[in-house]
């Protein structure tokens, strides 16, 4: 055998090994992607699995005798009487009628199936329609959280069910009769926070988030665009410009919690602004998102071809006219896309808002920029820290709402990029 063919033989044998290595390397890549994607799938499955049941509420529908004598009430339009009246009794009586086996000694056990606030529903109805007094009405009342948990999670070992054996049998009977039923949880979308999981909602947090985002958008978009225009079009090549650019790049990488410290020290302690209000939250998030917006706006300005500028200058436009009349309109779609992504980041941000006090327990839906408020991600944080699983369930549901907002914002950004951005 010649030398050459010997070499060829060696190469052929090593080739097998080398191809095996090649395949192994490819497999590593596939495994890495599989790990990342499975983490994504597990994350989503976990949150949906934990939270989907929060979109359902458990109600008790029954005929209630609105009996004045039982309630110590003979005129529902009399405010003083309304304050003293007993709105719980008719509900207990109505529910006792639905449970055949329940005697007078079971009163307390029966009452504990009703939500402590169910009586408010009756009171509010009477306040609005005083004529209802003395009639029998079919009412849909919120059940107690314990009943809600039992109906939704009876077989689940993670949930501890705080109903005794007898109450469980009653609830089973009531479910069979259709008195206890489940429906879409509108409470979750129409109320603020509450100590009672079945009455806790995310409307307060959503409104708080919207107010905070409004402040952030109003401030960060114009300032970011103006800064980008200056840096791209007007800034002279000097030390100051370099320093500004270094600052922007570094601020983009500063941990968000540091902006919280800044907000606490400057806006709250130095300027004496109130704590936990959307204005301060918006200011802090503005400072945080500005670098993102500036960087993406600069990229958008850069992508406008020089021929546009030259043409405008050629017919006698001043530098400012070139920028404002020609470059800016062409760069605007790209700027908007970048800003939407920046706003999505700000919407999911939690840490700096914790430091400026937006973690308070707030029941009311905020009505303005200077009302105490909380935001969606902070609401998730607050509920996730609760030992009650019913709150965890709501935290997951709030995460789903938050993710829905974020995904639609990002989808909007992608759509705008495809639709409006021009390529030269």
């Amino acid at each position: 055998m010649s030398d050459q063919s010997k070499q060829a033989e060696i190469v052929r044998q090593s080739l097998k090994r080398r191809y095996r290595k090649e395949r192994r390397f490819r497999a590593y890549g596939i495994i890495a992607i599989a790990i990342a994607l499975s983490a994504l799938v597990v994350l989503f499955a976990d949150i949906i699995g934990k939270g989907h049941s929060a979109f359902i509420k458990t109600t008790i529908t029954m005929d209630v005798d609105i009996d004045g004598e039982m309630m110590y009430l003979d005129d529902a339009s009399d405010e003083r009487q309304m304050k003293m009246a007993d709105f719980v009794e008719p509900l207990i009586q109505a529910l006792m009628r639905e449970i055949p086996g329940a005697g007078e000694s079971d009163r307390d056990a029966v009452r504990d199936l009703l939500n402590p606030y169910a009586s408010n529903q009756l009171r509010d109805a009477l306040k609005e329609y005083p004529d209802l007094l003395g009639t029998t009405q079919t009412m849909e009342l919120l059940s107690h959280t314990n009943v809600d948990v039992y109906v939704k999670h009876a077989g689940d070992d993670n949930y501890s069910i705080k109903l005794n054996q007898q109450q469980r049998e009653w609830v089973d009977q009531l479910v069979e009769k259709g008195v206890v039923d489940t429906s879409f949880n509108d409470v979750f979308f129409s109320r603020g926070d509450s100590r009672d999981p079945s009455r806790a909602g995310i409307l307060g947090a959503i409104v708080g988030s919207l107010l905070t985002m409004a402040v952030t958008l109003v401030l960060s978009f114009p300032i970011g665009v103006a800064a980008a225009i200056y840096l791209e079009e007007f800034a002279p090549q000097n030390k100051l410009t370099d320093f500004i650019e270094v600052n922007i790049n570094n601020l983009a990488a500063v941990p968000s919690i540091i902006f919280g410290l800044l907000g606490l020290a400057v806006f709250i302690n130095l300027f004496g602004m109130p704590r936990s209000v959307p204005v301060v939250g918006g200011l802090v998030l503005t400072l945080m998102t500005l670098p993102t917006i500036i960087i993406s706006s600069r990229a958008a300005i850069k992508s406008v071809p020089p021929s546009i500028r030259e043409a405008a200058e050629g017919i006698g436009a001043s530098k400012m006219q070139v920028v404002l009349h020609h470059v800016l309109p062409l760069a605007l779609p790209g700027m908007l896309t970048g800003s939407i992504i920046g706003m999505a980041q700000a919407l999911g941000e939690t840490a700096p808002l914790l430091l400026i006090g937006m973690v308070a327990f707030i029941v009311d839906v905020p009505g303005g920029f200077l009302d105490s408020a909380t935001v969606l991600p902070v609401q998730v944080f607050l509920w996730a820290g609760s030992p009650e699983l019913a709150f965890i369930e709501r935290a997951s549901a709030a995460i789903m709402v938050l993710l829905a907002f974020l995904i639609s914002m990002n989808a909007l950004a992608i759509w705008m990029r495809k639709r409006l951005e021009r390529r030269w």
Partner: protein
């Protein structure tokens, strides 16, 4: 009037000034024979009047709104009888909140001492006064300056140049806000940090191995003195970041290599956005996942093996943080790998190397500096990450390297020390700012270093 409403009023006044300025320039131009005898277009005369009207008024408004709270506080405290003037900042903030509670009606006046009720009345009066002065001053400034701007409109005035110059300065101010923000960060952490080191020695902070910031709330209270040694926080942060990097670097790097070298266009078009989705998920969601799913899973799994694991193990927080950082590492590596010139690739393949050999022996070494830069950026991200560790890591500062034990981090301590009620001069709150300063310096150093490496690397191939 509220500051927000006043802002709108100023805008309206500026619009009015615009319309008047526009009209005046036109009426000045008519006897001359039309607007072509003006130095600038009527639009610019209007805009000039609007700027004259709006800018000074808005500056006054901003300054007033920023400082009125503080000034009113000082006036109210200053008017208290001598024996009630608080001696410490903590007492001052307590007193102020009491006064404002009485003023807002949250605390009935009967429950407070007479001087406080008086102070509350003064507070309410001062607030009303301040609003009046602010409204009067801002409107006066707007009208006066607007009028001055309007009256000086002449056909020979080069309004366009003036408006453009002003706009340019406004744009510059917006860009300079970045410097202001950095300065704000430095000053806000620096002052408190200096005060902190006035109470706690450098040596204790940097070399102490005990962290338990429970100081006495009142002077006469018997409580632990509090220990402020940041070594356990530092090691805890490093442990969690190291775990995160162990997850993120191999997974991120390998997936970037696969996507840039092997994957078809279609696969890339699907997988890349999905990976980026991981980066878009808010950190609080990862924290939720780590605290309520991964941590219990790890501790149950360890228990089934007979190992003792904390329910707030560093492994859970670090692992989930690693998942969060995967897209960060993979997109940075992707950029760096794509920046390696095609000629290197072609040369290696032409010599008969397989794709993986090309990758491992040629492209990877060439891209290594850039990849290192990317990893440093990822480390700085991991160190500064807050929500995952606040929710999933512990509070107790254990000095340990065991990933199954609970550790605490710098960011967790900042959040714990600063949420809830606080006095502003206790060593506890000041410690949070000192930790913030350390965090800022550490991430700044990492970022500067990383950006430097990445830039150097780019230049090499340009």
């Amino acid at each position: 009037m509220q500051a927000a409403n006043l802002f709108l009023v100023t805008i309206v006044l500026a619009l009015v000034a615009y319309v008047l300025g526009y009209a005046r320039s036109r009426s000045l131009a008519t006897p001359l024979g039309g607007i072509r005898h003006l130095k600038s277009l009527p639009f610019y005369y209007g805009a000039r009047a609007a700027l004259w009207c709006g800018i000074p008024a808005l500056i006054v408004l901003g300054l007033w709104a920023a400082f009125q709270g503080k000034v009113i506080q000082l006036l109210v405290v200053g008017s208290l009888p001598a024996e009630m003037i608080p001696d410490s900042e903590g007492a001052a903030s307590l007193l102020l909140s009491k006064i404002s509670n009485v003023a807002s009606g949250a605390l009935p006046p009967g429950f407070a001492e007479p001087p406080i009720v008086e102070a509350a009345e003064r507070l309410t009066a001062l607030r009303a006064q301040s609003r009046w002065y602010m409204t009067a001053l801002v409107v006066a400034v707007a009208v006066l300056a607007g009028f001055l701007g309007w009256i000086r409109i002449q056909p020979r005035l080069n309004a366009r140049a003036q408006v453009e110059k002003t706009l340019k300065w406004i744009f510059f101010a917006c860009a300079a806000l970045a410097i202001l923000t950095t300065l704000g960060i430095i000053f806000s952490v620096a002052f408190e940090t200096i005060r902190f080191f006035g109470k706690i020695s450098f040596v204790e902070f940097f070399f102490g191995t005990q962290w338990s910031p429970q100081t006495a709330l009142r002077a006469d209270q018997v409580a632990a003195e509090g220990a402020f040694g940041m070594v356990p926080l530092f090691t805890g942060t490093l442990l969690i970041s190291a775990i995160a990097m162990l997850v993120a670097v191999p997974v991120g790097l390998l997936s970037a290599i696969y996507l840039s070298e092997y994957a078809s266009r279609r696969v890339r078009g699907i997988v890349k956005p999905l990976l980026e989705l991981l980066a878009g998920i808010p950190t609080v969601v990862y924290g939720f996942f780590a605290a309520l799913t991964v941590a219990p899973f790890i501790s149950n799994f360890a228990a089934s093996l007979g190992i003792d694991a904390s329910s707030q193990s560093a492994l859970a927080a670090g692992g989930v943080m690693g998942i969060m950082i995967i897209p960060f590492v993979s997109s940075l590596s992707d950029d760096v790998i794509n920046a390696v010139p095609q000629t290197l690739r072609d040369g290696s393949l032409a010599l008969g190397a397989t794709q993986s050999e090309t990758m491992k022996k040629v492209i990877f070494p060439a891209a290594l500096p850039g990849i290192m830069g990317g990893i440093l950026l990822a480390v700085s991200r991991a160190i500064g990450e807050t929500m995952i560790v606040v929710m999933a890591a512990g509070l107790a500062a254990n000095l340990t390297a065991n990933p199954l034990e609970s550790v605490t981090t710098v960011t967790v301590q900042i959040v714990t020390l600063l949420t809830g009620d606080q006095e502003f001069d206790s060593a506890k709150t000041l410690a949070a700012f000192a930790l913030g300063a350390m965090l800022f310096l550490a991430t700044l150093a990492l970022n500067v270093l990383a950006l430097h490496i990445v830039r150097k690397y780019r230049e090499q191939y340009e």
